[in-house]
Amino acid sequence: MARNFFSRFTRTRPQRASALDGQDLKKAFLAGYAWLERHKEAINALNVYPVPDGDTGKNMTLTMAAAMRAISEVDDPSASVVARAFARGALMGARGNSGSILSQILGGFSDSIADKATITPLDFANGLRQGAKSAYLCVEKPVEGTILTVSREAAEAAMESAERGAGFVQLLEDTMRAGNASVARTPDLLAKLKDAGVVDAGGQGYVTVLEGFLRYLQGAPVEQMAHAERETPTEAHRGIVEIEEEFGYEVVFLLRGENLDVGAIRSAINGMGGVSTVVAGDSQMLKVHTHTPTPGQILDYGVSLGSLLDINVENLQEQSLEYAQESARERGLTNLDLHGGAAHGGAASVNGARPASAAIGAAPAAPAAPPEPASAVEAREVGVVAVVAGDGWANIYGSYRLGGIVPGGQTMNPSTEDLLRAVEACPSDRVILLPNNSNIIMSARQVAQLTQKQVHVTPTTSMPQGIAALLAFNHQADFATNAAAMDKAIGDIATGELTQAVRDAQIDGVAVSAGDYIGLANGKLATSGRDQTEVLRDLLTRMGAGERELITLFSGQDVSSADAEAMAERVRGWFPEQEVEAQRGGQPFYVYVVSAE
């Protein structure tokens, strides 16, 4: 099951340089994510627009982490399948403005390679172009000098390069060059950046992801890109020594003074051995963020210029060690062990234990900087525990960083005790329970009586309904708000279930013979017949799929991926107006579970 991401990537570079398949693409995404994660603090420190809250790097990393989780178990060889799952994961897990934009870029990329098993450099360039185009479409008034601009200009360079016949490495080099130049121009396009003496954080983040792609294509081992997430303590230690040589201590402080010169201060700190130095602010107040082996020298220099506030010096070696240990611990818990009871969500292992920087930049004293959301390492205010059956479903639910997953479903309902144990193990005191089956709602409600914790049962009767409820979950909102939003959301999705009758029966007044396929729409028998395909078609029609936008087909445990894809193709034929997705559910009993939303 879900082990460390890095453990499953043994091949370090694509075998064919002229085309990437799904698994190559998966590793390229991983490399982009790892490279971003490694640089997220520096990106955080650049963040002054739209709000100087220093979280751009973190938000983009969390968005990529959600996307990575969505593909961690996708072993499909097709590039389009991997890209689609990745884009969907990014959409579901999008955080902040920059993360939302990134999710749209990935969505456009995925759409553009929709039917391709492998992609060429030209396809890749087209994908970047389509990604930028998609991203621009989601806002009425695109602001230039942001990640939007960078994605567009980088894509233009990618297209030119691909049309000249460049291979992947050349293409990415050209794209990076243009991307970096575009990032460097962002202060000329957006005055707030210029005032603060920084380039755009989101744009920098985007280029960082591309750089990860490039390093992978050049043959750099992905597992060396991240400074955390190591296989063994020995390896972790090796990683740390590397970091120590490179960075030593991270030093962050605010400097208040008169006539401060951002550029001169940056050069002076770099002259003292500062690495990845960011100095942002104005002549009276600025923020310094650097990595150095000699923090004392930098602080002395700061004191000579004015007064220091919010000084934070961290030892990256110690932190990295703790982080690696934490990751190892988290991994033990993160596995979606279908037999082992509750699992803690996997965000912590990719989120980093370090608090993000405080408000910075042009207005460090501004009252408006919002409070940092609690780190994912800490207990969340509100936890969610869901009952899930099937490996595919466990992966899908696993990507939502739940407080717990209880194995169960149609033929193996979890006991009240199982549910209670998961609720107690959930790291939050307020828990929303998703039973995902009408037979489990009662036991779930009993749990509320048995625990000291505050429990709300959102009466989901199917796993797609549970997903609809999760989509309404807002990690920043309180318990009551989430409970209400999730209850409301379950009405937004129609669920169909296709199964085979094991014996002659009378169901909801309809006679069914053994071996017949039966279709249940929202839990009620809607149709039956001898032919699986016909029953599915009728079921979808009765569910009102024709009036919806997205149809998702979740295949059961015994359905091969080829059969599932063939069925999805038929569904696309019946419902040309709708977007149709095929996902592995892996559920027992039901050949297909379908949702329409």
């Binding site: 403005n97 939302s100 806002v139 009425e140 009252p367 408006a368 936008e549």
Partner: protein, 107 residues
Amino acid sequence: MEVSAHAIATIAAQAAIECYGVVGIASRRPRLGAVQRLAPEEYARGVEVRFVEDHVVIEVGVILEHRLRVVEVAHNIMVIVKYAVEQALGLHVVQVNVNVQALRVRE
């Protein structure tokens, strides 16, 4: 210093329309049940401003792109609008309520 509700509404609307995922500002009171998408010069009409003692409560009506995670976009709008108004006018904004009047679905 007195700041008019209209000035606050104008700044709030400008901040909101630049938020990623926002594809329109809409009138808070739908006319005859239909959401009214506002032209740029009328954006302020999509924002309602209330004063609670020295504090400001802002309600903003928006049309969002449906392909994004709506709760996240709404949260971004709250943070960005609050910051923009406080930064520009030095007021304390205690609440920004985002009313999603419609979602835009494109082909």
